[in-house]
Symmetry: C2
Subunit: 345 residues, 2 copies
């Protein structure tokens, strides 16, 4: 049960990537994104992903040191070919472009095709929030995981959305799959040999699945859309997000073909000051947060947390106490380090 500091994890992650021929600046971008996910408590998007990225690099499916290409642009929009660069590098650069455009033109919308997995969306949406902009990101994948409302076979991506809103203090950050649960959380339960709650998964007869192993079996099973008794709403959102991220980017919507698994990306940056003075916006948001938190607490809860608050708390705790990495992941990283002749100190 090894526990590490963020600086240590950042250093070894970037060293391993550099040994896999990733340029130093890109290695740091990827390491930052992964370690920040661990810090925020989203280990499913943390350095557990490193071995997968190394595999993609080895196979030539993720290309280090590429230059993304703007295919088409206007002062407030751009379409980018990510050229199958490392997802974190592509997404970081694409968001920089969206923010630049928003600085000059109030709004910047950038769509991206040919990007590898970009990791945790909050990483990029907060880039906008740090510049007093609202950042919105929607991505789709190329693999179907989610059943449509009324169906029992996978047809949609888990298409997550992230919205980051600047405040006087830390940004508000919502980062969620549009399905009832992300695929990663099912994997975590499988590795931990824990059952799945009813309401997450159905089999191809529409019956609930509680054993996560069945989900990863030979027959493709489905995650349910968000919404429970109003599942048509979650389905509707996931369906539209898939088109925004996959259709508008040219990366393609979710389909049955086995394609290179990457993310179609839709990114938006909105300069708050183009709409309302920052001071007024911050005051209104503060007032709203207070009002929401003033609600009577429901049985079984201790307090009301606004989007981003749970992650900020985990971050503070892990900054102090360190980041726990499970034995399997740590062993895998040690193996890769050895293979690539990287000293782990």
């Amino acid at each position: 049960m090894p526990i590490f500091t963020k600086n240590y994890l950042r250093k070894i992650t970037s060293n391993i990537l550099k040994a896999a021929k990733v340029p130093a600046n890109e290695a740091l971008m990827v390491a930052d994104c992964l370690v920040e996910s661990n810090l925020a408590g989203h280990d499913s998007h943390g350095i557990i992903r490193l071995t997968k990225y190394l595999d993609l690099l080895k196979k030539g499916k993720a290309k280090p040191g590429i230059k993304i290409k703007i295919i088409k642009q206007t002062p407030s929009s751009a379409v980018i070919d990510g050229k199958w660069g490392l997802g974190q590098v592509v997404a970081y650069r694409a968001m920089e472009i969206a923010v630049q455009k928003a600085k000059k033109s109030s709004i910047g919308i950038v769509t991206v095709h040919h990007s590898n997995h970009i990791g945790r969306l909050a990483h990029y949406a907060t880039m906008a929030a740090k510049q007093n902009m609202i950042g919105i990101i929607i991505v789709n994948g190329t693999r179907a995981h989610v059943a449509p409302y009324g169906g029992c076979e996978p047809r949609l991506s888990t298409s997550p959305i992230c919205i980051a809103i600047p405040t006087k203090n830390k940004p508000l950050v919502l980062d969620m799959a549009s399905s009832v649960v992300s695929e990663g959380k099912i994997r975590v339960r499988k590795n931990a040999k824990k059952d799945i709650p009813v309401g997450w998964l159905i089999d191809t007869n529409g019956k609930p699945i509680t054993d996560p192993k069945i989900f990863y079996g030979p027959i493709r099973q489905s995650i349910l859309p968000l919404g429970g008794i109003a599942g048509y709403k979650g389905f509707g959102l996931g369906f539209m997000f898939d088109i925004l991220a996959g259709g508008l980017s040219g990366n393609g919507c979710t389909n049955k073909e086995d394609r290179h698994i990457g993310n179609g990306i839709f990114m938006e940056a909105l300069k708050v000051e183009s709409f309302i003075p920052l001071r007024d916006f911050y005051a209104e948001v503060e007032k709203f947060i207070k009002f929401v938190k003033s609600s009577k607490i429901a049985p079984g809860f201790k307090e009301i947390l606004v989007p981003g608050e749970p992650e900020n708390r985990t971050l503070q705790e892990r900054n102090k106490k360190g980041i726990f990495i499970d034995d399997t992941t740590w062993q895998e990283i040690k193996n890769r380090a050895k293979e690539l002749k990287v000293n782990l100190f």
Copy 2:
């Protein structure tokens, strides 16, 4: 149980509004929006609202014949003061501006404050879709209806979102409250003396309510956020939508004060061709729709319907068979017509 043609309803609605000193063009805009809601099957947003609008006109809270004012703008954004005009008129004109901006600058984002209730969002989002743009609208109200996740008192609006996406045929249209159900659907159950399903409402102790009368009683009860077991996701969306619509528009987020109840509005138009050739976009969306519909059907369902499809079917049926208006609503309209000396033929 009177049944009417859409043309008849449009005509009497606009005649009644004209008699209430609404200019002819505005009366038609409002009538169109209301009758189209009835046609689409959303009677809660149909001509049932007319008496409410007449009350607002009488009290001077809705002002006919106003000119909306652009407070601030850039080539791709605008902030509009709706000057408490009729909501349908304000929203229609604001969307026209968003579409105009998107025509020239790829993207148009418009926020609006001081607008009365704008009715069914799909009405405006499809204005963008008809111009080969993606239309997105989010609004908040000024009255809290929805409990935060972990709370049991109302703190958020039902903040609906509408996304309209153009296709080769009819646009895809998602139009949904971000809560598990809209307030209107509870009112419909109350009027029909029907119970509410568990999972829609909770009382101030967090216990389910199934009697809709309790919701409209002296103590304010709450609608649940969308999501069921993942209610924190629906809460997160509703919370962020409230800030986008209320915070960025200057109309204000949901709060406890008793203010003039209107809608804070966030509207966005995205020109598809600025991102991808229309032909390619249409082909991809068609392929995606087919793929989604090809899923095995779950028990209890007949087919998979994509967003907007149920409404299109109702529209075709009602175009043919007419629109049924309940006795109470029809009696109210007859009373108002008499009061305003409008001949109903």
